[in-house]
């Protein structure tokens, strides 16, 4: 059992490394010398091959973990986010074979890697299933939603590439600022990963006691407490006293520690962003832009739309229809206005609006790209923030 589980973890780790290597090969394909076209297409082929091997490694992780735990590994935040990373890679592979666009790999794989690394920061132990999750619909529902979101994520990737290429970086504008905000947001995830890993290596731990309703519970902080739990008392010695308390309106399970983690992500992410800016001496968007000389805007726009067109039905099926069927089986009502449900509906509304706006002239190109980014922001909000801030049936992990 332990062997199987450690093999499974190794496979996930290998997949991550392979994605990283593949990214470098995709990076090679956008080099700006026209002479070695052949070499470039070779690099693209190697890149996609390594990506596929990585995907198979991750699939092996998934299957062996399933065997070890006895249930599909999509039951907590770590497992679910990891799976989401995998569906992004799958969606990328499929889209790659339709459009043969190598620059996509250079951006899609890092997004998937950030998400997988982010996932690994959460508890990775195999957790038992509570009765409400014991259903075949757990994996039917979760895998379908995740696949839909993975495909939709590709529209975010092409949208970002479009924006980086298209936005005039010669002077500062609202558009350059918003593009930097997107870059900065991605770096916040890296900030989170760096902070968590650093303090994990130091074995940092501080225990707090705080009231929930009329009970007192304990929580362990693995990052120094900037924000302590609401009305919390620090029990450990020789660790940092919290600077302030988590506001009381944050209601997810263990909100204090999660909010603290968020603060650390901002802190470290901002530092990393600052360092990058100091090195580049220009906006990140401006630094990447010259690399995209050969990318074709209309093709990027086409893929953005296509990814939404393919992803939307899958998301609807998994996120609304399968979700409703399961809710009916488990609770006797297929729809209950739980925050996660509502945000799935909001996601659906958003992409429905996107598809309708595509009918009118004037919403193609850059506007579509901004919308694709907005849609992904909503998806990530639903994945992360709803569990953190809003109480509800889905506030696991």
């Amino acid at each position: 059992m332990d062997n199987l589980l450690s093999f499974s973890s190794t496979m996930l780790y290998s997949a991550f490394i392979l994605y990283l290597i593949a990214t470098f090969f995709f990076g090679f394909t956008i080099r700006d010398n026209k002479k070695d076209r052949q070499e470039k297409s070779k690099a693209g082929t190697i890149g996609i091959s390594i990506t596929i091997v990585g995907f198979i490694a991750q699939l092996t992780y998934f299957i062996t973990r399933w065997m070890a735990s006895g249930h599909a590994p999509v039951s907590n935040l770590f497992e679910f986010m990891t799976f989401f990373g995998m569906t992004i890679v799958l969606a990328f592979i499929v889209i790659y074979f339709i459009y043969r666009l190598t620059v996509l790999g250079l951006f899609a794989l890092p997004v998937a890697m950030i998400i997988i690394a982010y996932a690994s920061m959460f508890p990775t132990e195999i957790a038992p299933l509570v009765p409400s999750l014991k259903s075949h619909w757990l994996y039917i529902h979760v895998t379908t939603v995740s696949l839909g979101q993975g495909i939709l994520a590709i529209s975010f990737v092409t949208g970002v590439i479009y924006l980086i290429k298209n936005i005039d970086q010669s002077k500062r504008s609202k558009r350059t600022t918003w593009l930097e905000i997107i870059m900065y947001s991605l770096i916040l995830f890296i900030g989170f990963i760096v902070a968590t890993t650093a303090f994990n290596l130091m074995n940092y731990s501080a225990t707090f006691e705080y009231p929930v309703g009329n009970k007192t519970v304990q929580t362990e902080y693995t990052l120094p407490a900037i924000a302590g739990p609401t009305d919390g008392v620090l029990l450990s010695d020789g660790v940092m006293e919290p600077l302030f308390e988590t506001p009381g309106w944050m209601h997810g399970a263990d909100a204090g520690s999660k909010f603290n983690t968020l603060l650390w992500s901002f802190l470290v992410g901002t530092i990393i962003y600052g360092i990058i800016r100091l090195i580049l001496r220009k906006r990140i968007g401006a630094a990447i832009q010259p690399l995209l000389k050969n990318a074709k805007l209309d093709l990027l726009d086409e893929i953005t739309y296509r990814a939404v067109a393919i992803g939307f039905p899958v998301f609807t099926l998994g996120g609304l229809i399968f979700a409703a069927i399961w809710a009916q089986e488990a609770w006797g009502r297929f729809w209950g206005w739980d925050p996660k449900e509502v945000w799935a509906l909001i996601t659906w509304f958003f992409y429905a609006a996107f598809l309708h706006l595509r009918l009118s002239r004037g919403w193609h190109g850059e506007k579509s790209s901004w919308l694709a980014v907005g849609g992904f922001a909503i998806i990530m909000f639903n994945l992360i923030a709803v569990n953190l801030i809003l109480a509800g049936l889905h506030s696991y992990a």
């Binding site: 195999i126 509570v130 009765p131 014991k134 209309d298 939307f312 089986e329």
Partner: protein
């Protein structure tokens, strides 16, 4: 109705932008689709005459035009999106947590969220999703769906049916994908046509003019999925009537047999036992996670239930002449179904009190001192009496009884009428006197919680004889001579079951199926058309698709391979 005759001879209805047959732009109507300012033709609805774009006189015309606008539709979606997001800022009333300060929204929101909570509550946002304006918003989306679809579907259907292979030359040259080839031999033309057929295009030829078309059915996808959505909205409307939807909740004690609410007293349920299984904390697989969680993790909630139906000739509600309908285990995710009803495992009480035994004692001088007993009495919590007379002349009157006791700023209160945490105010009358002493006794659950017992997953039954020692026992005056101590108690388990009958489910399912069908039809296929027009020695080639231009270009590349036909140029005007 004014109709317009095109030079090709086809008679078009008023408001037509592009001739239904040959596609020639009709003079005077080009502003409707914005073609007058663009080089390319707007092919969205093939330039058909839509009611919304044609008539704008009567009030009905205006309402029709309003709702048929995609812009209005998108705005409605965006408004619904924003409203829904607002509904998740704070929990909706039904999701106020059980351990909240108060379940009363008037108290809960301002107490928990301050002034913003107060505003949220005052605006009724705590019941946003059942508010009249949210429902109206959804209804307006429904209206928009119907009108949008009708406005476009009928003319588009007609136009695509009427369309001719022989098109006006400006129709071709103003397509996004277009090329002119000067020298193309007959043989090459034939080859192109064969290639088109190989690509599974349906090819029509009129006087040498070619129309190759595939995937037309995908054009109906949007209208099909809109029909699905309308069915879902109608189902939601039906569900709001009691005829189609029953929603009840019932608590059944172990061993108890009671009528199932919402069934016209026709069905009875017997609880043969409630089972709570938990994960073994030494389980190899899960021990790390359980340890980290630091609490007991349940693995199964189960009620062993028997459902009886009254035979038809019996008096309603009487418990004679019952026949067994079902006997099964109801578990989470495994509801029991009988005669259209479903019973869901929805809650449980491991520790509902069935009886409590009290002892009247002399008030101890100091903590733990030996005390004299003045007799015992037992309260059956399912049928409590109002007073208990002891053999030795003591009388105990129940002054107040809180079956499910809790304490808040308004003093002692009861959460429900179920004996889940019975607490009493006793008036104790010693023998031969009218004077009484008041004692406040109970809150066993509070006591168990405070010594660290998780009363939701641990059975208290084996601890019945000792738990009383930790109970609250208050003497309001401080002058009492006697105290009422809890000697013993007994518990039973209770199952909470939801009772549902939802006749709208098949309609919802059907609507969802139609929606998925339509959305896949519209999204995963595309309507591609390629036109070929003979010129003196060569041809004109044009193509249109409703999505996936990349795909149609690839088709054309394959079709013209090894011929003199020039590849189409993409004339798309980027709008920025």
């Amino acid at each position: 109705m004014k109709s317009i005759k095109c030079e090709c001879g086809h008679v078009n209805p008023e408001g037509t932008v592009l001739c239904e047959a040959c596609g020639k732009p009709i003079e005077g109507n080009q502003h409707i689709d914005g073609n007058d300012k663009k080089k390319l033709l707007n092919m969205r609805y093939d330039g058909t005459a839509r009611r919304s774009q044609t008539y704008n006189k009567s009030i009905i015309d205006k309402i029709w035009s309003f709702f048929s606008s995609v812009k209005v539709g998108v705005w409605l979606i965006v408004l619904a999106l924003i409203a829904s997001a607002i509904g998740t800022i704070f929990p909706q009333q039904q999701y106020i947590p059980i351990d909240a300060i108060s379940r009363d929204p008037a108290i809960y929101y301002p107490e928990t969220y301050g002034i913003l909570g107060q505003i949220y509550y005052q605006l009724g946002l705590h019941n946003l999703f059942s508010s009249w304006w949210y429902l109206i918003l959804i209804a307006l989306i429904g209206v928009s769906l119907v009108i949008c679809s009708l406005d476009r579907f009928v003319p588009l259907y007609k136009a695509l049916k009427i369309q001719k292979a022989k098109r006006h030359k400006t129709f071709l040259s103003r397509q996004r994908l277009y090329s002119e080839s000067d020298e193309v031999s007959e043989k090459e033309k034939e080859q192109v046509i064969q290639n088109l057929k190989k690509q599974r295009y349906k090819v029509r030829i009129e006087d040498g003019h070619v129309l190759a078309e595939k995937g037309r059915f995908s054009r109906w996808g949007p209208y099909v999925n809109h029909i699905g959505l309308i069915i879902i909205l109608l189902a939601a409307l039906l569900r709001s009537t009691p005829m189609f939807y029953t929603n009840e909740y019932v608590w059944v004690r172990e061993g108890e047999q009671i009528v199932i609410p919402g069934t016209d007293r026709e069905y009875f349920i017997e609880n043969k036992g409630f089972i709570l299984d938990v994960y073994d904390e030494n389980d190899e697989r899960f021990k790390d996670a359980i340890q980290k969680e630091g609490r007991i993790i349940p693995s199964n909630f189960q009620t062993n239930a028997v459902v009886y139906k009254q035979s038809d000739d019996a008096v309603a509600g009487s418990e004679t002449d019952l026949e067994k309908v079902a006997e099964t285990e109801i578990r989470m995710n495994h509801p029991l179904e009988f005669d259209g009803y479903k019973l869901y495992q929805s809650g449980y009480q491991l520790n509902e009190f069935s009886q409590m035994t009290f002892e009247i004692q002399e008030m101890p001088e100091e903590e733990g001192a030996e005390v004299e007993s003045f007799g015992e009495f037992t309260i059956d919590l399912i049928n409590p009496q109002s007073e208990y007379e002891l053999d030795n002349g003591f009388t105990v009157v129940i002054d107040e009884y809180f079956p499910d006791y809790f304490l808040d700023s308004n003093g002692p209160n009861t959460e429900t009428q179920h004996p889940r945490n019975p607490t009493f105010i006793f008036n104790v009358y010693p023998p031969d006197t009218d004077k009484y002493e008041t004692s406040f006794v109970g809150d066993i659950i509070g006591a168990a919680d405070s010594i660290g017992i998780d009363t939701n997953s641990v059975e208290l039954k084996p601890m019945g004889e000792v738990l009383g020692m930790f109970a609250t026992n208050l003497d309001a005056t401080g002058e009492n001579e006697y105290q009422v101590a809890i000697k013993n108690m007994d518990f039973h388990r209770v199952s909470g079951l939801s009772v549902r009958k939802d006749s709208t489910l098949p309609i919802f399912g059907f609507g969802a199926f139609i929606f998925m069908f339509g959305v896949i039809q519209g999204m995963y296929w595309q309507h591609r058309r390629i036109w070929i027009q003979p010129t003196d020695k060569g041809i004109r080639l044009a193509a249109h698709t409703n999505k996936n231009w990349f795909g149609v270009k690839k088709d054309i590349e394959k079709v013209i391979e090894n011929t003199n036909v020039k590849m189409v140029e993409d004339q798309q005007e980027l709008d920025e």
